[in-house]
Symmetry: D3
Subunit: 293 residues, 6 copies
């Protein structure tokens, strides 16, 4: 169950309206790595978890915080839009190129669709999609997904920090940066703990019988491009992070195997087979007869 | 530049057709973590890279291999579909429930749209979307994304391995599992190397002046759920993975701050403000007059 | 701020697993009118609201309940999937058409992607999209949208009720049906209260100066089809619900006006204008010269 | 059958080109509540209708009108784009910030993809999606959806009215506002008539045996947020709009029930179960042996 | 303007219900090349046309016919779904594998969302997307797009013809096949007429000054794969269809040019540049100071 | 298998940065007819091909070239973005409307998400979708699709050519224009060769027994609009391009047939049937009893 309290985790008070920036801020609300993504991702991971206890509690605990971040960003965006100019094109154009420019940089749906409100979209107006969510049931994979989400998220907030000089906006971003720092650290620590406790290991999934994979190529770096400096990396020689092998560098791919012959599906699918038309038709007729269609 | 050779990296020869399984296999071809995703992801990361040398070579080298995996899976799917029944509903229903069941489990677009060919979609027929791709320009974030992609990918291939007993299909999956093992290891090693060389560090992005984030909350685990066992994890006390702090456990959120008052945008956006209608209208009229609309 | 408590609003205990039904239940979790939609919709409406007080409190109050419904449905789906067969195609086909049929009716991503967990998708596997959300800032419009969402939602739950005979599943659906009954009633009551208080009125938006619309056609039912029985409805004669006019029935559309002549955009957009090619080219050349491109 | 006549229902003659406004106008052509949505929505509702007569005639009659509105808006957009500058970036930048600003506010696909033509997209360029359409077969639900669509649509047109001062554009919008006024009134009247005739009733669907829902919670407003003013609304006490109960206000949620224990799906799905790895592996091996995989 | 008549262009009367086939038939209603696509495509092409007369009349004339095809297919699908079993999973499973199989092959949204009605989606339930539409303003390109759409459409109808033995369904498909035959022929004839009249020519767009393209490579077939038989085709030697050159076969690509050095964007975007962290930070600080952020 | 070489097919060196143009150029990288589309389309067509030899070699050969075009455009876009201003809204607004205007015209995700890198999206930021790809297995249909793709692609490049005066950018576009000229010619030649060799013919699919289509309407141009000039075209009289008939002009549609009566699905789907509620309920109860639900 979720409960809502009419407070915010941190102050949301921009110094002045800025409709262009409001559009940009949509990215970390409704983008691929915005707050809706992490709120839903941690939610689904917790509801699908297969063990009670600390890992699931962690997912529950951070997941609900992220829902509050969704609310903070939506509130900030509405504040930034409060005094946005309506954008009468003609007038603006003739009188003030700066106002015209501002209009050009805003999200028109902020005004037309939401009446100066936040929207569940990214900075280009793409609606948030659940295709962004990862929840596989394997916690080592999923915590790595979470670490990545927090990294991408903090990176975007950092970039946005430099795109405004409004102290109120920066104050909120400063808070979000810190929470992303925490969450990056937490998912990395939790992933390590899974391995330390022997609950999961590399390669993911560690419960798959490793003997069933083609071990001959499990640690070969086969280079399909022509730059050779990748042979110098720690991923090309020495022990592997999973502790189960040694990296080997293969500077160019060995010969492949011939592709199987092209398929010949049922003639009633009318694919092109290269047989002259009358032959094909005769065959089709025969097959038709056979199947009494 | 990309060059194509009419060979496959590994044999693709199913023992028998299986249209139901062909549909499932679409997941690792055209799904969120399928081969199209990693091929495009490593491609865009390499084209956007800001430094020459080993990291970019690594991206180029694996990216091109993944394009070959797209081809192998597409070829396998076409093979599995070659003898798929057309699916005359009525006949199948009356004569053979097993055939009917098979038809129920297939992707109808395999027959209707592709004529027994592979499609750039997932196992539910959702077209592949570039919204799956991550390429931020920050290699520590992106290599973490890549490690996650290879984990999710190998997990899905492992699940698919158990869903067939066709030795030819399993042989290909066995090869793919091994390559995913390699790539998991490589991205983890490469992420570690970025840190070891001082090129990048935690938290991502490490080049953002950390003093500008709200350091008071950078290492607090604030628990927004009521389970307390998350306080026992290594993410709740002790040093943080970024080496810059100590975790602190906050069992429940401190009081928040009041939300700002609701916004009052331009009356011409016709939002509901709670003022009785005539007042609002009068205000609107005034504003209209003012702006000469 | 949102807080999570590790309890559910109602019991979630199916009597037996049913992976086919789990797929169907996804509709009311992640479909157009599923619980994610209403949770997000009421959230965005509250964050964008322009007046404090009872209407916004109502949105906050129900919105948080709906997040708990998301959780209940996700939990139910995971329960239903717990013992789902993995689906080895060949074996199933040969041995047991019933198992084969079940596999045909399941969502393959439940197993391959989520490892027997719930997903933020509908019953056809389409990822939830924020394109489903409505939050305009005009409460009369939005409460009507909410009433519709609860109607469509209850309708779908009712249909799903008949598609299972599992008493545990029906018990949860019975609870959800009742909550949808409540929420239908609430949004209808709230919409009426907006009008009773003079805060909003019909037609939406009532704050737009009605004299600026083309009043000649504001209450005409112009029939663009050839059935005439629609002329008998209460929408074709008598007073209008907005209290501002009388319906009038126009059995067939009056003559229209000629369309404007086709456009002739800049020749450098290379649209087809019907001029013979040499003329067009000469004009292009002239225009090129003029613009020095 | 549909027939086309080369006339428009109303004049479409802007006074001057305005490519920035053309982009905005796309919202009511190809957006969530644009004309394509209502044309398709009324179409599918009529084709799926289960009774002949006045309700279906109404759907047919308005549906075909809306197709004509699609045409009018597309024509208007093409007119507005006719003289749009091509947008040579560099030149524009150096010479005239106003032209530069205009370019910034246009939809680049108007020029690049459509050659100064209208497109089936919204004002942010999102392609129209059939995910916007509602057609459930239950007319009380669907007419409520329609009333909402006309409200949202008229609201957007009203906002757009204030964003231009072109008399030709305003003349068309004035016409569309009036038609939306009519259609709002019609769907509201039609929904009321369904109830008056006893064909449908609240709660939707009224044909579901109401005794099968959990009547204990059918009329409780359970407040999941901490603002208490929602208790003052007509939705918190007094008779309910469905005429079947009395509203009751529950200021905070009663205790919930414990969630079921986490699921333990087939080990071959490789989810994390918290068992140390060797145990899990042994179990996997045993299960493998069992299934001879 | 569009007018609707309550008749169908051809009879729609299946002999018996078939919910599995109803799902398949959705492909040619709401798929990439379904009737919605062509109706909207011809509509937008006509509204964006730059010349009056026969070509635009052709677009208007066929476009309206296609809207009627949308209606016929929706009607047929509703007929096929009329007696579809509801699909009580458990019962079906235990009693009758054939019924179970049928349920597995149906679209669950047909029942849950549309109450046994047609939907604007394809055979996998993907909502129709305006991303399928082509309307560029260049008629030679667009008529080629139309010819392709009619080819793909007829191909799909032909495949569907073999998937049913219901004489009523086949009767409708037989009609649609014939109309697609006509429309293929028409668009091919119309494309040829554009060239014959000198209105358009190859290569599209023929109004672009051809001297501005890099004529050295305009007719070279550069082979980026290793199969050599493509050198034998009429596309590898002899005159070109545009009548402006001679094909030339280049069996493997000439050497390329070096890529430009990697980019170094503003350090405040926090991309990885390979400079050790302290250096980067110092630079960042300097830049910060410079910009006073 | 695909191999990558660290070279480009043509030089990619813009004279100066231009972030606004970078956004526009995304169209031909990640739009409906961008390079990703053709690379994937030719790939899937080759992997699904049913005959070895020259046609498949052609697909392989061009497909791999297009992957290199993806790379060139991504590289160009990154170059154009290299020095893009970050876009501090407030500062820009106050100081320089031109800079403000530039910011308005850029894609905010270029900076926020990709750190000044290319993205797999179109010029409005819509992620590339595999819904753009066509690969049916019928080569005559698919080569027509390919000819169209190259026409639309060249048309877009031509339009983009006029939108910049940067000689470096134009140099690349000049190369791409030439390659598109070649590929248009090739697909047209290849389609003709399929017919000349008797492998395929019109109408597509030519292997469907033409006697099974409704030949009465195979060559009738039935005009559903009221303009009559389409009767003058070569598509309205004379021999048809498929060589199998004569066009006939039908100036207005013959009378249609009545639609079937509305459907009456299972009452448990709760659609509106027009029966007064008590009757319907009684029927529902009866049916419930019958099915013991």
């Amino acid at each position: 169950m979720f409960f809502h309290r009419q407070e915010l985790q941190h102050e949301v008070k921009p110094e002045r309206p800025d409709a262009v920036y409001a559009r940009k801020l949509q990215e970390v609300l409704g983008g691929q790595y915005g707050e809706i993504t992490v709120a839903m991702q941690y939610g689904f991971q917790s509801w699908n978890a297969h063990m009670p206890g600390k890992y699931r509690d962690l997912l529950y605990g951070i997941g609900a915080e992220e829902m509050g971040h969704v609310e903070m960003l939506a509130t900030m965006i509405a504040q930034l839009l409060e005094k946005a100019p309506l954008g009468v094109t003609e007038g603006a154009m003739q009188e003030d190129p700066t106002v015209a420019a501002i209009i050009g940089g805003t999200d028109p749906q902020h005004a037309i669709v939401a009446g100066a409100g936040a929207r569940p979209v990214d900075s280009n107006g793409n609606p948030w999609s659940a295709g962004y969510v990862t929840a596989s049931g394997n916690l080592l994979a999923d915590f790595t997904a979470n670490a990545n989400a927090e990294m991408q998220g903090r990176l975007q907030v950092a970039r946005l920090y430099h795109m405004t000089d409004d102290p109120g906006v920066r104050d909120l971003l400063s808070f979000l940066l810190a929470r992303d720092t925490m969450h990056q650290n937490q998912w990395i620590a939790a992933a390590a703990e899974l391995r330390a406790e022997g609950v999961e290991d590399l390669p993911v999934p560690s419960t798959f019988p490793i003997g069933k994979e083609d071990r001959d190529v499990s640690y070969q770096y086969i280079n399909f491009s022509d730059g050779q400096s990748a042979g110098e990396g720690s991923w090309a020689s020495g022990p592997t992070p999973d502790g189960k092998g040694e990296f080997e560098y293969v500077p160019e791919p060995p010969a492949g195997v011939p592709a199987p012959p092209p398929t010949k599906p049922d003639v009633r699918l009318h694919g092109t087979t290269g047989m002259p038309e009358p032959v094909e038709k005769a065959m089709g007729a025969a097959q038709d007869a056979l199947h009494k269609e």
